[in-house]
């Protein structure tokens, strides 16, 4: 961790020293300059753009978890600040949400999940939340949803950001980001640097409900430190070619306190990851071809000395994807993709190093008719690994009844989904089950979207099923995963956003509401309510900027969640309000210095997101941010 800390500081220093890059000779670029990640999304399916650090209403240094909760209304299972945070979306488990980075899966092939608390939002250019219909266009496994993160080096933007923050409970953070274009052999190029260091002691006060009169105690043994460094380079060897390479190094150390009802000492977790992605894109007149290659080494080391657990899970993943997008006419588009992944995993609980090869392919067809008032799209995805195959059709219809006169769309889409068993589910000793079948799903959604320059309103009604859901159950004294459960979920997602700029006043508002009815059963029993799935989740954000001052308010509400399937115990609802103020204190040329102050959980609401895992009450965050942009 010390080595990575110094690496981060060095990178921060280098980034901070780059105050200005001389403007290069102006180069005429083709219309596209942003290296898109995936353009194959179904227009008929639900997607929510959650923004990036460039959005005024997104607080700087918000973690990905906070962004999903505040702007996306997504429910998370959080064990505490800096502790494991995984999403549950439309009734799915954590391993039913895939997280991608520039189109490539980050979920662990061993665990099937991605710990969102390790992801620095400051590093990403954009985050989108996609429903399960669209997730199959990226990868298998997204039976609930897909979180797509983009990070690109940009040819037309010169910018530098430095953010330093400190907050209650002994928490501190520093982050920087620099993007500057340059030329190489008279061709446009760009460099992107990111560095992020977060150190949290998490010594927050909380009321302990396990003791009489709920005395106030201070959390101990919950420290968390995280460092992320990334370096990106992009170049356009010709007007039609675009090549980008990004390296991302990540390290996380955390101390995991036991829950309030357990007397044990803290456990320790140390994660390290190195990720390298290369993307080459060719833009022809009617055809675009891209090749992506992604390599990751990852180590997840969990130590609990009180019960003698010392798991060191390691994996290497090499993923490759070729995509061709062909516009046969201005109304008709084909997309063909083929991918190959090679993954190896090792653990002290594996009998040997296990490897798997996965091939996948996709064909998609989009047709616009009646002056694009009707769009019909459909296709099929194919996946194969370790003797298991899945053929997953998808499709949708989007109708714009008023054409260009009004940006109103009616949408209907559906897909089959699946999730292959993870390496741990197959090979864990003892108990792993190599005979598992993939989980299978069906998803259907329909809704309305209105998207003008200022106002966006989107709603989607959905119906999902999950079959052969894998659960670890005891068998003869050992726990072993089996395909046993069936789950059906239905509900509605609604999100809105509104922006207004009037002179020196800028207003940005948004909200998200999710209703989910999730029921499950095993082979023989009646349906029961799924535990830990809130029926209602609501979030709203708002910021108003007047001249050099910005006021922000974020609201999150979560309804009660049952923690048993027969509804005889629950976690109470909670309501959180964050209030922030930012003041521009210095503006000189292209430099801007801003001071900010946030009050998180201003209501000082005492709550637990997971049983017996206290969350912090009111806290104060102070930050100073320097920005430079050309």
């Amino acid at each position: 961790m010390k080595r990575n800390f110094f690496l981060s500081i060095t990178l921060l220093t280098v980034c901070g020293a780059i105050l200005k890059v001389s403007a290069q000779d102006t180069i005429e670029l083709r219309p596209f300059t942003l290296l898109d990640t995936i353009v194959v999304k179904l227009a008929s399916s639900y997607e929510q753009d959650l923004g990036s650090i460039r959005d005024e209403s997104v607080p700087p240094m918000a973690s990905l978890s906070e962004l999903l909760q505040v702007r996306g209304g997504v429910s998370l299972k959080q064990y505490g600040p800096g502790l494991l945070a995984t999403p549950t979306y439309r009734g799915g488990d954590a391993n039913h949400t895939q997280v991608t980075w520039n189109g490539m899966t980050l979920n662990s092939p061993m665990l099937g999940t991605m710990d969102l608390s390790t992801v620095p939002l400051f590093q990403m250019d954009g985050v989108s939340l996609l429903s399960s219909v669209n997730s199959g266009l990226y990868t298998s496994g997204g039976m609930g949803s897909l979180i797509a993160m983009d990070q690109v080096a940009q040819y037309n933007t010169t910018e530098a950001h430095l953010l330093i923050g400190t907050s209650s409970f002994g928490n501190h953070n520093v982050a920087t980001r620099v993007n500057f274009p340059l030329t190489m052999f008279s061709r446009p190029a760009a460099i992107l640097l990111n560095a992020d260091v977060q150190q949290m002691e998490n010594n927050f006060s909380f009321k302990d409900p396990t003791l009489d009169e709920n005395p106030i105690r201070v959390m101990r043994g919950a420290s968390f430190s995280r460092s992320n460094n990334s370096f990106g380079f992009a170049v356009m060897p010709s007007d039609r070619w675009d090549v980008q390479v990004i390296y991302w190094q990540s390290q996380m150390d955390r101390s995991i306190p036991s829950s309030l009802i357990e007397p044990l000492d803290s456990a320790i977790q140390i994660d390290q990851a190195h990720r390298l992605i290369g993307v080459a894109k060719y833009q022809g007149d009617k055809t675009q071809v891209s090749v992506r290659s992604f390599y990751e080494t990852n180590s997840n080391h969990y130590i609990d000395p009180s019960i003698g657990v010392d798991n060191d899970n390691r994996f290497e993943a090499w993923r490759n994807l070729v995509e061709m997008i062909h516009h046969s006419t201005q109304w008709h588009r084909w997309v063909v993709r083929a991918g190959f992944d090679r993954i190896s995993g090792s653990s002290q609980n594996y009998a040997q190093v296990h490897q798997l090869n996965q091939i996948n392919g996709l064909i998609s067809n989009n047709i616009n008719v009646l002056r694009r008032m009707i769009r019909v799209e459909g296709g099929v995805r194919f996946d194969h690994q370790l003797g298991l195959s899945a053929v997953l059709p998808f499709g949708g219809l989007r109708v714009s009844p008023f054409g260009e006169a009004m940006p109103l769309d009616l949408k209907l889409s559906g897909a089959l989904t699946n999730r292959f068993p993870t390496l741990n589910e197959r090979y864990w000793v003892p108990g792993g089950n190599d005979d598992l079948s993939p989980e299978r799903g069906r998803t259907l959604e329909g809704g309305i979207e209105y998207a003008s320059d200022r106002l966006t309103f989107q709603t989607a009604f959905y119906w999902n099923t999950y079959s052969d859901r894998i659960r670890w159950l005891p068998s003869g004294g050992l726990f072993s995963p089996v395909n046993i459960d069936f789950v059906k979920t239905s509900g509605v997602d609604i999100n809105t956003s509104y922006t207004l700029e009037l002179g020196q006043v800028y207003l940005d508002l948004g909200s998200a509401y999710r209703y989910c009815n999730a029921k499950g059963r095993d082979e023989q029993e009646d349906f029961y309510t799924l535990a830990f799935v809130p029926e209602h989740a609501f979030s709203a954000f708002g910021s108003v900027r007047i001249r050099s001052s910005t006021l922000r308010v974020d609201v999150q509400s979560m309804s009660q969640r049952f923690i048993t399937n027969d509804e005889d115990a629950y976690l109470p609802a909670y309501h959180l309000v964050d209030i922030g103020w930012q003041q521009e204190v210095l503006r000189r040329g292209d430099n801007l210095l801003t001071l900010g102050c946030w009050t998180r959980n201003a209501l000082d609401w005492q709550y637990q997101n997971m049983p017996w895992r206290p969350m912090p009450g009111r806290s104060i965050h102070l930050q100073i941010q320097w920005e430079w942009s050309d």
Partner: protein, 334 residues
């Protein structure tokens, strides 16, 4: 702008009260229980891991009346996280609550708590050493813990295998299931000196004594399960099964072996003499007494469970509703 900001902040802070201080898991109201009966089956339910919803259920074997959440009804608090085992000594009950790291001592007729032994590391099972000294196994704690019930204190910690589980006393020897490396650790009582270690070809989970006082041990093995007996310090593999077993008891000259779908009955020589399909979807515990055979069903391992009560005529008598994940069962009569 400043006024607006101040107004918003003040408005939020003034309206901030958390109307009811509900923090942490909330449970349904439990009705008061006045009378338990004289002939009871006490069922310990593990509850969901780290949720803290373990419980005790009682079933009156005469009236067939069942009470849930007995501990919480009497003591007005939750019993803890994962009830692992229950013992009766004199007029007291000892309830081992694994993930809470404690042992609760209850009056056997009223279930009122009279003491707690705390500070244990993942306690699982107990055996009496002498007097009020008991030994407690520790799953993952690398130790056996000697406790003194009179003072409710930990008397001594003895280093042992990492994952010690069940225990079986045979005269002045204590057999401890060491699941770290599938061995039996044999200690001399009461000094608790380690005499020897016996290597097994399977993971020892279940144990008991036959009618001659010979210990037997059983657990999952490659291809299914294995049963071993120890006679005159000799280890004998007496039976191999092609299916995992979820419980095993010896009662009146017969072995009752619980598997996923069947209850198999063997005589003392391990010859099959009977058996039947039981109704449990996830068999998780077995108890045999003069009242019959009780098969605990953990169902989906998330919801409330059931116990299937079969008579010795192999006919289903009654299905007993229980708390979440019923496992430990003990008969209490007064």
């Amino acid at each position: 702008m400043v006024r607006l900001a101040l107004f918003v902040i003040l408005a939020v802070l003034i309206s901030s009260c958390q109307k009811e201080e509900l923090i942490g898991p909330q449970y349904l109201e439990v009705s008061e229980i006045d009378f338990f009966g004289d002939d009871l089956l006490l069922i310990g339910c593990e509850g969901n891991f780290q949720v803290g919803n373990a419980s005790l259920s009682t079933h009156d074997l005469v009236s067939r009346e069942t009470n849930q959440q007995v501990y919480r009804s009497v003591n007005e608090e939750a019993i803890g996280d994962i009830v692992q085992s229950i013992y009766r000594t004199g007029d007291s009950l000892l309830v081992v609550v694994n993930n809470s790291g404690l042992i609760r001592i209850l009056i056997d007729s009223t279930f009122e708590e009279i003491g707690v032994v705390e500070g244990l590391t993942s306690p699982r099972y107990m055996e009496k050493v002498e007097g009020s000294k008991w030994i407690v196994s520790s799953y993952g704690g690398e130790s056996l813990t000697l406790i003194y019930l009179k003072s409710l204190e930990i008397d001594q910690i003895i280093e042992s295998g990492l994952w010690t589980d069940g225990m079986l006393r045979v005269d002045d020897q204590l057999y401890v299931h060491n699941r770290t490396d599938s061995t039996l650790m044999v200690y001399k009582l009461p000094a608790l000196n380690l005499l020897r270690e016996i290597k097994l070809a399977f993971d020892p989970i279940y144990s008991g004594l036959d009618e001659l006082g010979h210990p037997w041990f059983a657990g999952p093995a490659e291809g299914g399960s294995a049963i071993t007996q120890v006679q005159s310090d000799t280890l004998m593999v007496v039976a191999k099964l092609d299916t995992p077993i979820s419980g095993m008891r010896f009662y009146q000259g017969r072995y009752f072996i619980l598997s996923k779908e069947r209850l198999v009955i063997l005589d003392a020589s391990f010859n099959t003499v009977g058996g039947y399909e039981h109704g449990a979807s996830l068999p998780y515990g077995l108890h045999v007494s003069e009242d019959g055979v009780f098969v605990a069903d953990a169902k989906d391992f998330i919801s409330s469970g059931e116990v299937f009560h079969y008579g010795h005529d192999q006919l289903l008598k009654h299905i007993i509703p229980t708390g979440v994940i019923p496992q430990a069962m003990i008969k209490i009569n007064y």
